[in-house]
Structures are given as structure tokens and as C-alpha cells.
Symmetry: C2
């Protein structure tokens, strides 16, 4: 920190005629509130448009912006297609079992997971700007949706009503995402800090893991709550009743199989496809085993009937009236934010790896259209998946064509293979979901957050524990609250530092940060470390500054000297409001009454403008407002010597 200043001597030395004092007072008027508002609105509506372009060019460029496939599609060649084909097939082999599992997590029939892997990837492929992301259902959003909607309608009692609410929430999520993109409200997604997301994802992964105990243990009656305590209680109750260990054995052995294949893939990068096809392989093997042994008659739970065929329309199931519309909108908003957060995080990390830029607002628009289209075709909220995107990239995808290949493959599976899923054991779905969870728990990142920023870690921990022991919403709320609390606290209690001079220079720095700096006798230099001197911190700053100055005066008087001047370095104060102006006025009044000269150094544009408007410049005196701390100290020392009381 610290403010850095050059002495006026060096200014004149280098040949500037006018004193810098007049520089400070004679700045042009800063843009007014109206100017800034219109400029923001203009930038929002017409973002970064080059001038002198015709209407046709404009619309073509808008079309290209909306459908990036038009741009890169013209140069798309067979070689890329071969890569994308391979990546898409690999993706499908992972995506089919995952989709069925996530549908189970979302308390929907398996086909809805598959539907969500058909339409959304197709829409995203033509509208999205990320080349790597794999779109479809994901674990956290599935959990979020089911945990919130089952509080409104119980899916085991009325699955039709539940499904209607899911589609309505998906529709709202899409509308929210599209409007975020349209109105360039991308910053709303930024309200979830990185640390909070790490904690939230970790907590959600553990909650999802515990939910899988139902499938893994073949429990029929399970709790609807998601917190760990309720789930463990429910499991203990279930385990004390007669249960079928076959489910558990089957699930665990295939989980171990999947984990081993992943271990091998990590060791040998060429075998990455092993990890990708292992889930599908598990599904096929376990289905065969159950079919051959007819284990379903001995207590092994199976999926049973799965509807085949292409996505049916669900446009009529979306509800715009009725008692639950408000709740659906709220759930849609939360899902929209979480889904966007995940998609943008995934998209950005791979874009930065491959060295291209991702426009957050355009991504939001694409995701919004994706989910609106999905909600009309029996899909629930889709977004970019961490695990599948990684597989997509490893498999060598070049463009979003791999998503299209995957969608077509899933579509074929829906047409032809759903009957084969009849005997698939439920425990296998649990083990597939469980195997995807470690990727969501980022202990390394949590450690590095702890190392770098304790307060960030607190937000991370709050989100984690909130999800684990409260609910998904409570976790989110805690994370946002801690992050905001921190910003508010640093606004209402800004640091105030004393500046000292680096010996032999005109550089003034915080004396705590740079202990080698020295005080200037008779002059106290105070640096206000807040970017906004406003109603929230004005009283605090006044009290702190006044106490420091008066304490310093007492101390110097005890030492037989006297405090002549106080310099307030305003470099960091970017804006001021009427409360701030009042406080500066009061400080000046009080200092004048105890014979201490007040000097202001380096007021920002808005600050000096408002000081002029409030006639504070006249009260303090234009000659006591300086461009640099160095000049202020120089002037104060000069005045002191003139008074004949140098020290």
C-alpha cells in the first residue's frame, strides 16, 4: 500500500511552469451520473460495435454472434470430424449410464436423463462458443432440483405433478439464463465466489454420495431430506430391517472396477477411453449378470421399464398458473445460477487451457435457449459437466460437433436399446454416480484457499458445512452471506494507515508495511484505505482520524515538540458522498480549532469535483490541496518554518 509522491522541487526542476496545485483544482468536470448511466446502457445494448458498418453487415455479425457454428462451420474439415466422431462416441458411452443415474438422482424415470442428453447438446452445439464443453444432466443440478421440488410435491406420491414442476422450473431456469445473457447481467453469477463454489461442490458431492446409499443398499423407504444426519438415520433404520446384501455387493464390485479402470487411465494417458467406457461396460455386464441369474427375484432391485423413442413434447406440462409458479420460478433461478456457474467454470478453464476467449454473456444466452428448448422436450436442466467435458477433451474433440455425435448416439440408444435396460440393477447407477463424485471434491484447491486467504476459506467451509448439515439452499445462502459480509465489513471498517517517508526520497509509504520509513517531524500523514468515503464509514473515519491526530499531538507535546500539520492522503478514495464531505468539513473545523493545519493530497476526480461543489475547497483553502503527498509535506514544512517554530 502506500501512496507515492514526488516533491514539487523535482517538478520545477524538470521544467513544468505552473504549480501542480492548479492541476488538482482545474481538472475537467467528471462525467455526470446521467452520462455514466447512458454510457452503461449504450454499452449494454450495442456492445463493442465497430462504426461505419451497414445494416446487413450488422445483422450478419449478430447472426454469427448468436450462432458461432456459422463462423467455424465453413472451415470444418473431415479430419476434425474424425476427431469429433471419436470424442462424441466416447462421450456417449460415458453419458448414457451417467444420464440414467442422474435422472434417478433427480427422482425422474431413466428416460428423462437420456432425453436431457439429446436436445440440449444439439441446441448448444449451434449456439455455444465453447468448443470443449459436454452438455447434459449433471449431478449437482439434479440434486438441487429434486431436493427443492420434492418439498413442494412428493415424487413418490404424484410423479406426474412432480414432473410438471420439474419442466416448469427448467423453463424458468432457461428464461433466467437467457435474460442474464441478454441484459448482460453476467455479474450475477460472480456473486458466488470461487471459494464458495469449491465448498458448495464438495458438500454437494458428499450429499449426493450419501443419497446413493439408497440404491447401493437397495432401500425402499428413504428420507426426502438431503442433510447427512437425516440420511444416516434413515440408513441405520433401513439396515436394522431385513435387507438384501446382493445389491451392495454388486454395486461395490462394479464401483471398484470403475475406479481401477480410472487409475489405469491416469497412469497411461493412451488408455483414457478405458475410464470412459467402464461405466457402460459395467451396465452391460451387470445387466447380463442379473438377466442370466434372475437375481431380481432374489432382492436385487432393477430399473424395469424404460420408455423408448425420441423426446416427447412437454410444452403442455409447463405451468404458468397455479399455486406453485412462484416457487418454480425461485427454484429455476437457483438452478439457473448454479448451472451457469458450473458451465462457465468448466468452459473457461478449458478455453484458457486451449487459449481462446469465452464471452460469458453469450454463453448465458446459449445456455438459456438450450434449457428453454429442453423444457419443451421433456428435458430437465442441462449444463456443462465437469467429468464428461474432461473426457471429451481427452478424446480429442475439436468442436461442438462431438456434442451432436453424442446426442445422435443417445437418440439411437433411446430408439433401440431401452428394452435392454430392463434388468439393469439400480445399484450400478449408484456406483456410476459415486465414481463421478471425487472429481467434485477439490481438497487441493481447498488447501490452497486456506493457505492464501483465511476469510475465503471460511466462505468455502460455510458452504460445505451448510450443504452437508443444512440443505443445498442453506449452503448457498451461507456462502453468499459470508462473501458479502466480508465486502461490507471492509467497506464500513476501512484501514487507515500512517505514512512515512522512504529516507532520501519523496516516496511515502505505509509505516506498518515498510517499517524502514521514517516519520516527518511535526507532520502526521494519514492514508485512508477505502475507495468510497460514504455514510457507511464516514463516522468511523472521522473518529479514527481525529483520535490519531489528537493522540499524536499529545505524544509530540510530551516530547516537547508540537504537531503542526496533518496531511490526509486521499489517493485511494475514489468517490465521496454528502456524509463524507460533512466529515471532511468537521475534521477541518476541529483541526483549525486546535491550530493544526489540514492538507489534502491527491483527491480523485469525483472527490475534488464534489469538494468544489460543496464549497469545501474554499473552506480548506485551495492552496492546501496538493497533487502529491510530497508537495503537501513540503508546503507544511515551509509554513512551519515561516511561523518560526521549526522542529
Amino acid at each position: 500500500m502506500g501512496s507515492l509522491a514526488s516533491e514539487p522541487a523535482s517538478v520545477t526542476k524538470h521544467g513544468v511552469e505552473e504549480p501542480t496545485e492548479s492541476w488538482v483544482l482545474n481538472t475537467p468536470e467528471p462525467p455526470s451520473l446521467w452520462d455514466e448511466l447512458t454510457s452503461v446502457v449504450r454499452k449494454t445494448i450495442v456492445p463493442r460495435q465497430k462504426k461505419s458498418s451497414s445494416l446487413l453487415k450488422c445483422s450478419i455479425s449478430a447472426l454469427y454472434g448468436l450462432f458461432p457454428i456459422l463462423r467455424w462451420g465453413r472451415n470444418y474439415d473431415f479430419k476434425s470430424f474424425k476427431s469429433d466422431l471419436m470424442a462424441g462416441l466416447t462421450l456417449a458411452s460415458l453419458g448414457i449410464p451417467q444420464s440414467i443415474g442422474y435422472a434417478n438422482l433427480a427422482k425422474l424415470s431413466p428416460q428423462y436423463g437420456l432425453y436431457t442428453s439429446v436436445v440440449p447438446p444439439l441446441i448448444y452445439a449451434v449456439m455455444g462458443s465453447s468448443r470443449d464443453i459436454a452438455i447434459g444432466p449433471v449431478a449437482v443440478v439434479s440434486l438441487l432440483l429434486s431436493s427443492m421440488i420434492q418439498k413442494v410435491v412428493d415424487p413418490s406420491v404424484d410423479p406426474n405433478a412432480y414432473r410438471k414442476l420439474v419442466f416448469t422450473a427448467t423453463f424458468f431456469a432457461g428464461i433466467f439464463q437467457a435474460s442474464f445473457g441478454l441484459f448482460r447481467l453476467g455479474f450475477l453469477v460472480d456473486f458466488l465466489s470461487h471459494a464458495a463454489i469449491v465448498g458448495f461442490m464438495g458438500g454437494a458431492a458428499i450429499v449426493i454420495g450419501f443419497q446413493q446409499l439408497k440404491g447401493l443398499l437397495g432401500i425402499s423407504h428413504f428420507t426426502n431430506k438431503t442433510d447427512v444426519v437425516s440420511v444416516i438415520k434413515a440408513v441405520l433404520v433401513a439396515v436394522n430391517q431385513p435387507w438384501h446384501p446382493d445389491n451392495f455387493l454388486l454395486g461395490c464390485s462394479f464401483l471398484i472396477f470403475i475406479l481401477i479402470t480410472r487409475f489405469i487411465s491416469r497412469r497411461n494417458k493412451k488408455l483414457f477411453w478405458l475410464a470412459a467406457v467402464a461405466p457402460l461396460l459395467s451396465v452391460i455386464l451387470s445387466t447380463l449378470m442379473v438377466f442370466v441369474t434372475r437375481a431380481d427375484k432374489h432382492g436385487v432391485k432393477i430399473i424395469q421399464h424404460v420408455d423408448g423413442g425420441l423426446n416427447p413434447s412437454s410444452a403442455k406440462q409447463i405451468q404458468f398458473t397455479g399455486p406453485y409458479v412462484g416457487k418454480c420460478a425461485k427454484i429455476g433461478l437457483i438452478c439457473a445460477v448454479i448451472a451457469l456457474t458450473e458451465a462457465i467454470a468448466v468452459g473457461r478453464s478449458f478455453a484458457s487451457m486451449k487459449g481462446y476467449q469465452l464471452d460469458g454473456n453469450k454463453e448465458m444466452l446459449a445456455m438459456g435457449f438450450t434449457n428453454v428448448a429442453g423444457s419443451l422436450t421433456s428435458c430437465y436442466v442441462a449444463t456443462g459437466s465437469f467429468s464428461r467435458t474432461a473426457v471429451n477433451v481427452s478424446a480429442g474433440c475439436k468442436t461442438t460437433i462431438s456434442n451432436i455425435v453424442m446426442a445422435i448416439t443417445v437418440f439411437i440408444a433411446l430408439e433401440l436399446l431401452t428394452r435392454l435396460l430392463y434388468y439393469t440393477p439400480v445399484a450400478i447407477l449408484a456406483s456410476i454416480i459415486l465414481s463421478a463424485l471425487p472429481g467434485l471434491i477439490d481438497i487441493k484447491e481447498a488447501c490452497s484457499i486456506w493457505e492464501v486467504d483465511k476469510m475465503d476459506f471460511l466462505a468455502c467451509l460455510g458452504a460445505f458445512l451448510g450443504v452437508l448439515f443444512g440443505s443445498v439452499e442453506i449452503g448457498l445462502l451461507i456462502a453468499v452471506a459470508i462473501s458479502f459480509f466480508r465486502i461490507i465489513i471492509s467497506s464500513i471498517r476501512p484501514r487507515i494507515e500512517m505514512l512515512g517517508r522512504i529516507q532520501g526520497t519523496d516516496i511515502f509509504c505505509s509505516m506498518r508495511q515498510y517499517p524502514k520509513t521514517t516519520e516527518t517531524p511535526g507532520i502526521l500523514i494519514i492514508h485512508i484505505e477505502s475507495s468510497f468515503l460514504c455514510f457507511m464509514n464516514a463516522n468511523f473515519i472521522r473518529e479514527r482520524v481525529m483520535r490519531w491526530i489528537l493522540d499524536e499531538r499529545d505524544d509530540t507535546e510530551k516530547a516537547g515538540k508540537s504537531l503542526q500539520s496533518a496531511v490526509i492522503d486521499m489517493s485511494n478514495v475514489m468517490n465521496i458522498d454528502t456524509s463524507g464531505i460533512t466529515v471532511l468539513e468537521e475534521i477541518h473545523k476541529k483541526l483549525t480549532s486546535v491550530n493544526i493545519q489540514l492538507a489534502i493530497a491527491n483527491p480523485a476526480w469525483q472527490v475534488i469535483h464534489k469538494m468544489k461543489l460543496a464549497r469545501l475547497v474554499d473552506k480548506i483553502g485551495g492552496t492546501w490541496i496538493f497533487l502529491t503527498v510530497g508537495e503537501a509535506v513540503e508546503a507544511c514544512s515551509g509554513a512551519k518554518k515561516d511561523d518560526g517554530c521549526g522542529c
Copy 2:
């Protein structure tokens, strides 16, 4: 706005051996989160205590702190008492009619207003640290209380239940105020900006004025709503029915009388007592007139029975169970904040006029005890009144003894004179309240807010219109929301400025604020004007910085030159979180990939510490982090020349 820097040449010139670069990297470790937390807690519990003091001294000083009367009481002399006696009597002559009027506004019987002028001033007199403030019922809090509680229980239907809620809310208000003081939460009161208070007070005054139409027109059935539209409708309905113009005539003539006396008092400062006694005089005259003419039989509404005697206990009426406790606590909280805001604003302005300091936390503690004691003795929320404090000061009060004198006078009036109030017309109370309202509407201040800060004026206007057309709570909510919105907006969309050099110096300033500054060829200097580079603004800053750098590169390349380096001036960034670190890392990575050298200037204490922890210093290179912009520019120019591509 600008950052100011000295070139390293001047550093070595003046004989500092080590390069300042090592200064930046070798700072001591900043206080950890734990240190800061414990220091805040320690300061909160043991505020500003001198060391080496015994337990006895400690407790005596605590006692003095709690009861300031012990400190100044020892030097209290007869001369001061004479002044206080006169001030107290003047205060009582204004306070008695005002208290009755405000009780009417709070929908309580007249005696409750008088009770509130007995106990609270006595308690405050021994605990308060302001010498001038006059404690008692005030207009805005009376309105606030009645408008919120009558939504729960209608006072015209069940006055006893209503009164119980009033005492309960008063009790909670006292508890909240005392705990604000005890836990040093004074900043909570700062959440209402000065501008918001100006707007809120103005709106409340107009609402109170409209409420007085009921008394002034002698209307029996009036609306319970406070917004102007409802009130005007109710008045129009009432006026179209037969009504008694005598009430209106009586009220208006005495209102004119009071306003004329005030005008005379303003012209001639010696006649200040005229304005102070005019309300009492009006009460006496109008009561006599009604008594003599028996006008009450011809439609003039009178107060009728007023209970005499000292405050009865109301301890048993405070409710800690039942359905309304939560609501009472909420109402108590709002009243506590508004009452404190008014008391502290009044107290501070007169303290600053007389040149003494007021400790906000101690004031809150005193007000809290005052209201808790009040709630036990049939008083409602009391606070410092604008109008009566001004009269108290004009009458020459020296200490809080004037409050004691007033309380005793009101007590005597309660014992002896309540019977005489039987014939007092209600219209007179309305005119007394109306006459006190202009002091709450500060058009001059609103104009100066408009002039200095448009956004502040918006908060002011929002609060004003919210109170006027919504309700008191809506007005408060709008004011707080606008004020916060502004802070959040400036946090998530910080300004980013390009810096230029003041020719012939090493001072670098914002090029927009100081248009005479010049760019350094081949080097772009960017100044981030946010005090916190965090999750909320990190993406925005990254996008803005990257776009600027890349645009600048394209422009310079068009001009046949090349952009070699980018200097990010971090002077204003006081803190950073993991998102901010990530963004800096990404900027560095991207710039390296396009062959632009990144240099960081003047990172603050926490920032450089966290950059070291996150190993970002190693990535950027310790030699590219500088104490001043000047040094950074110097080093960049040097590197450029070394590369042999100077321009």
C-alpha cells in the same frame, strides 16, 4: 485517479543502497485474520484503556463512563443551575403540549405522552453524555410506532391490547439500543445515510401533517393507512359529510398565532421564549375559550378525561409470549434505529456547535436504558427531539439538569393540572404538531445534496416518496436499498483508468482527470480503482484489462509501433481474494502468450503477501514487481531497449 511515483533513479540518487524492489518483496507479514479478529474483540471489550490502572480505578472510571453526571456534577454550581432552571421551565412549557399531541399521533391517551416526558429525561440526565439534548416523545417515532402497531391491533377496537404492544415494542427498542451500545454496533445506525434521513424526515413530516387533518377537521372516522393517497381520499369522504368548521377555525387561528410568535422570535433572538411558550399559551387560551363558550356542545372535539398522577407501572403489560412478540421485536428494532438516528444526529450537531465530543456507543447505551426504564413505567419510545433541543439550547441550558427540571415540571402538571385539560380542543393539538413540522423538512439540505451528489439525492428522493406514497417502512427500505445498491455497484464495476506521465516528472496520473498527461510509448499503464479485487469484480477487471491491452496493441500496431509492456498499478487494491489472484495469474499468462511484459506496481500489504503465498510472485517474477509506477516504467523501457526494439 492517479497514482504518484518517483523514478528509481531519484532513489539511488539520494543514497538508498538497496533497490526498492526488495522493499516490496521483503515486507513483514501482515496481521493474520486471527490477529485482526482478536484485536477487534479486545478493542470492543476494553476500549481505549490506559495500562497500569488498579481494579478500583478501573471500576470508578467505568462508573464515570456510565454516569457522566458523577463527573461534571462535582463542579456543578448555582449559576449553571439558574440557567438550567430557566431552560427546563421553558422546555416544559413547550414539552407539555407537544407530548399530548404526540401521544395523540401515537394513538395513545394524552397522559402517556406526559409520562414519556417524565421518566426518560430523568434516566437520560444521569446516563447521557450530551449536555443539550431534550428527551421525550417525538413526532416521527410516534408515527412509526402507531403506523406499525395498528396493523397488528386496532387501537380504536382494543386500546388495552394496543397499549401492551406499544410497551412491549418500547422495551425491545430499549434492549436493542442498549445492546448496540454494549457491543459497539454503532455502525448499524450509519446504514441510514444522511441523505436518506433528510428524505425520510421530510416525507414523515408531510405524512404527519396529513394525519393532523383528522384533528383539525374534527373527523371521527379516519383511515388507518399513512400514505398520502389514502389520507386524501379519507379526508374527501369526510368533508363531503356534515362536519364542524369550528374545529378547523380554532386550529388554524392558533396555528397562525404560533407561527407568528416563531417569526417574531427568529427576528429578535431575545424573544426566543415567545415561540417556546406559544403552544402552552394556545392550549390555555383555547381551553378557556371552549370552557367559557361550551363550544364542545356545538361540535368542537375536546380531549375529555386525562388520568392524573405519576406514571403507573407497566411492567406486567410487557408481553414475552403470545403471537405478537416477534412483530413487536421487529417494530422495536426499527424504532430503535430511527430513534437513535435522530438522537445522535441532534446530539452530534449541538455537541459540534459547542465543541465537545459525543461517544456514539455510550449514547446508545444511555438511550437503551432510558427506553427500558420507560417501557416499565408506561412510557413509549423516547428520544432526542429536534425542536425541543433547539429551544433548550436557546434558553441557555448548561447540563442535563434542564431535563430534570422539565421532568419535575411535567410531573407537577400531571399531579395537579390534568383536570384542566378536559376542555382542551383536539384541533389545538393538531396545530401544535403542525407547527413543529417545518423543522423536519430541510429543503435547503435537499438542494445541496442534489448539487453535490446526484446518487445521494436519489436515495433522499426514494425515501421521501416511499414514505409519502408507500409507508414508513417502505420509505426506509428504499433508502437503505438505494444506498447499498450504490456501494455494491461501485464494488462490482470499479473504474479502471489509463495513467499518463506529467511531463518532466515521475508523477503518473489518470489521463482523463489530467488531460495534459502523456502516454509512455510502448507501455500501457492501467490503474485499478477498487479497494478489493475479489470474486465480485475479478472477471470484470480481467475482461476490461485484457480488452484494453489488446485494443491498445492493435492500435499501436496499426501505427507501426508495438506494445511492449503493461504496468498494472495496484496502489488502490487493498485486499485480494483467491478469485483475484486467479485473475492476475490469467492476465499474466495471456500477456506472456502475446509477448507483452506484465509489471505490477505498488501492491498493498495484504496483496503482496497473498501473491507470495499463492506463488504468483514467482510466476510473474520478483523483478517485475515494483514499489512505484515510475520504477516499473523505467524497468519496462530498459527491457525494451535491451531487446533492441526501442520506439
